[in-house]
Symmetry: C2
């Protein structure tokens, strides 16, 4: 639009049209020519590391130095069966790291009837033979060299940028099946590097695929096999700095390649946070959140990405597009941000984002509630939404997820003692009236100043009590959220034993939530049967209210959400439930021959 | 996009592009062929008035039956000087109707040094000679006849649709200057009528301009003088029904031509409201709110139009565009609603809207606070925003607006007794420490359940006290909001005496609000001087916080707004002030010769 709106001339009618377009596009910054001197200067400034902070970034150019090439997360972190035959979580990075989960093995065998002698290990290393040689556009490469922007056509670098984290993508990699991959990977260091790269790509008819954190679950990173042009993966991971923080107006201007964990850590050092916490936040990038319209688990308190973004700078083949002001809302013309968000990298490369920031919350408290059955739990969530008093996060897990979480409880450890105490009580005393094959659990996270949090907590537990809900302790709650970051590792563990997992999500009016949960589960079971899957699948779901939120997928940061406690949006909050169907496990001895 | 996303074929690359587009556009409903039988059936249903309600609509096809052709609002309502030489507001429609404002005359003379003998009356009636004969597209007219959809090329009908309410538009009409006007006015009765009209317009190369309430201040209704095609004004005013209300999920499906006052009245009959109250709500239409991205005075509690809209149906030359589901948020693909909102009728005709509704508020309470000066008032608004406890509406008026409002106080009447008492007290007792040339006033509106409102009220008055603010009574507050609907009549009154008025708005970070107010006022004064305007202009402003809101204009429903009381959006709420500069009066004895 920026470029369209700048045009002129032509016939009268064109002129009129142009004029109207200019009015509607009045909120967009006029395109500017990239002055190479400015370009050099800016990039020098960025090299000189005078920015707010540039140390200790998580993601190196060569991701293989710390991450798996054919699975989720860090190379040093995975589930295994140890010598004693117990499931163990390796590494030192997570609270669960180094712990043993004695119950997991039996749960796997009992649930899927799988024989754990029966392994389906992933191809250990990438055989260079599996990767087709790069189709290089020599003229492009030559000019790229002259810019000094680093690039590589190393096979590993290319394979790392050829996929996101859809099940089928990881499945193929584990089988050693590598399809069409980028021919080149380039690492811009700043916005102007991206401008240069896009210019060269247009000039030489090269196909660009922006790459942020690589956690996409929309197939946005897949290279079309039919693509005959040279495909270049534009990896933003080195554009990872906070360029400035405005403490007066609580905004920060940030390069789009920074990953969530770095962004939060760096802001925390200054006493601030964005509050945007998608499940994938360890590895997903700010630019990725914008391009995929991400939402975070604390959206009730902070909003989704579209609520947090003030201004986006995007490089398109037609030029740089950006709003002309930092106003929080503009009533003249369409909102270009809402075309950038959800465009999945197809319209351009997001390079810089101005975001709202907030002082870190004074006080945080986890919690959990056990309900006699799912129906009661859903009724409670709906009431919480109606009363507009939802905590920062509230998730209702069904009985299957409750049992699964139970199977993941680690061996006694300082951290989990009280949790196990909780569990003892659980079966022995107050919960004994509950049928363990029916009960379900809600996990809670409260944030704010201490006094308000405690009030708020009481209000929510009082509502829960009306629906037969009983408080089940802080540790159960905290543990629930901690598992969020473990789930994808568990998916890979399952695949070692012929078990696959996927998730999908939708939103429906509250009065349809129970039907949809029941019917989808039944349909999945039926489909597996029809397709001759040997064992019955496990389908579970978790439900949350929606403050204006709809379908989104796991690695995109699908998260529970309910009312914001905002008197403002009653209709909105009270009336939609979001359902994440997940952990759909299949024993696919037959399935993978289909 | 709907149509693009449905295409296929072409080369491999086109096919890939199409496929990606289909994914991104997955949330859009596939275009459907309009089946004329369905069409007939639906329209019959609509004629049979079986819808939720279709009685007592405000706006007739022939607007001239009740409204002014060259000024704001109802024909029977205007300001005049009565026989006693006092300003009087005629008619019976408003609380102020029939009342006398003794102070207004002196205020006018003193403020502008204008001689009220010196009149600049508007051309009383429309002389048909002033209107150029219609350029009709016979083929289009013939086919239009066959559809049975009513239309007219009567001169008055056409002039009524040729303008919005920008100052220059009304000014020209008062001078009897009528430029290019639509050649034909057509009144569709339902969505399918619009589909038919747009089809015919495309087929016969006729230019369509959608017309809702005619309150546009973006020149969106002006006919380009250069336009050689036949221009048809598509008047949605007869598409004014609520098609259904879903009380379970608090949504309503409504035809886009309904005006605000009808929509609220009809919903109120069922115990609901939308809470969307732009200044123009008496006459502006739902479709207009969507096309112009309107905001309302209670946005703190209900949100802006983009927060209230669940689904929009728009007829474009490429077909009907509409989301495929009613989900409150979709994370896959761009949000097409944000391209429809702000498009000002340039992309298509909005025909139906599904909107959130809410139960009517239990309790409403007005209020007002007087501050010793504007600086203190701004500091208070900022603090209210920071503490996230803003009422449904809070507006801070500067000293000029305070004096102006004072000049509008009506002669004693039951309704205003206590107000006058308030004023007495005002000068005589507690406010005597204040300099009447410095003090400023904030008006407040609280909504919710009674107990919460009273708590909330106390909290806000406590904050105000910290900034030297003193409560000045409910009536002052209520009166302030009542004047909202009178202002445009007052603009026309001023024009009778060579006084013109306009307004404009912007948003800036809180720390810039005072500078911007001061500098803009100074600049306007300077510009008038440079242009040889005989008398000094009066520039006043009112300031409000912004819950994510930016520039918008008076008749679009520019309204005060501050924090939503939503813990969620601190950064957002605490950090932007919106400023409406208005009532810029000029004595233009010279000006209009420039």
């Amino acid at each position: 639009m920026a470029s369209n709106s700048s045009g002129g001339g032509g016939s009268d009618r064109q002129r009129i049209a142009q004029q109207r377009l200019r009015i509607i596009a009045g909120h967009l910054r006029r395109p500017v020519d990239v002055d190479s001197t400015i370009l050099a200067a800016e990039c020098k400034a960025q090299d000189s590391k005078t920015d707010v902070s540039s140390e200790g970034r998580t993601v190196p150019r060569r991701r293989q130095e710390i991450m798996k090439w054919n699975g989720w997360g860090y190379s040093d972190t995975k589930f295994i069966f140890n010598k004693k035959g117990h499931a163990e979580f390796t590494g030192k990075r997570y609270k669960l790291s180094g712990m043993v989960m004695p119950a997991l093995k039996d749960w796997l065998e009992d649930t899927f009837g799988s024989n754990l002698q029966h392994k389906s290990p992933a191809a250990p290393i990438l055989t260079s033979g599996a990767v087709q040689p790069p189709t290089l556009n020599e003229a492009f490469v030559e000019e790229l060299k002259s810019t000094g922007i680093p690039f590589s056509h190393d096979a590993e670098d290319r394979v790392f940028r050829a996929h996101g984290h859809c099940l089928h993508e990881i499945f193929a990699l584990r089988e050693g099946k590598v399809g069409r991959v980028p021919d080149l990977v380039v690492w811009p260091n700043c916005h102007n590097d991206v401008v240069r790269i896009v210019e060269l790509a247009c000039k030489h008819n090269v196909c660009l695929i922006p790459y942020g954190g690589g956690t996409s679950v929309s197939s946005g990173l897949e290279c079309p096999p039919e693509e005959t042009r040279s495909i270049v993966s534009l990896d933003t991971s080195q554009m990872n700095r906070i360029l400035w923080i405005d403490e007066k107006n609580l905004t920060a201007h940030i390069e789009a390649g920074i990953v969530g964990q770095d962004l939060e850590r760096l802001l925390n050092e200054s006493g601030y946070c964005t509050g945007h916490e998608p499940d994938s936040m360890e590895f997903s990038s700010l630019g990725g959140w914008v391009a995929t319209r991400a939402s975070g688990m604390k959206k009730n308190s902070y909003g989704n990405i579209e609520d947090l973004v003030i201004r986006v700078k995007m490089v398109t083949p037609q030029g740089v597009i950006e709003k002309s002001c930092l106003g929080p809302r503009i009533s003249t013309g369409p909102d270009i941000h809402h075309f950038i968000m959800g465009s999945e990298g197809t319209l351009g490369v997001v390079t810089e984002v101005t975001m709202k920031i907030r002082p870190m919350p004074e006080y945080q408290k986890y919690g959990s509630v056990v309900f006699p059955n799912f129906e009661q739990g859903v009724a409670c969530l709906r009431e919480v939404a109606k009363q507009r008093c939802a905590p920062a996060s509230i998730r209702l897990m069904d009985n299957e997820q409750f049992k699964f979480g139970h199977a993941l409880k680690p061996q006694v450890s300082s951290m989990f003692t009280s949790f196990l105490e909780g569990l003892k009580t659980f079966y022995i005393t107050k919960f004994k009236g509950f049928d363990t094959n029916c009960l379900c659990v809600a996990t809670l996270l409260f944030e704010g100043n201490r006094e308000k949090v405690l009030q708020h907590e009481k209000q929510v537990y009082d509502i829960a009590a009306k629906f037969g809900g009983l408080a089940a302790g802080e540790d159960n709650g905290q543990r629930g959220y901690m598992l969020t970051f473990i789930i994808a590792y568990l998916r890979d563990f399952g695949m070692d034993y012929y078990v696959i997992a996927e998730s999908f999500e939708t939103s429906v009016p509250w009065d349809r939530v129970l039907d949809v949960c029941r019917n989808v589960k039944a349909r999945v079971v039926q489909e597996c049967k029809d397709k001759g899957v040997q064992f019955q699948p496990l389908v579970s779901c978790r439900t949350v209210g929606v403050p204006g939120d709809g379908p989104c997928q796991m690695n995109k940061g699908s998260e529970p959400c309910s009312s914001t406690g905002n008197e403002a949006r009653e209709g909105e909050h009270a009336n939609w439930g979001s359902i994440l169907f997940s952990f759909l496990f299949l024993h696919w001895l037959k399935l993978h021959f289909i």
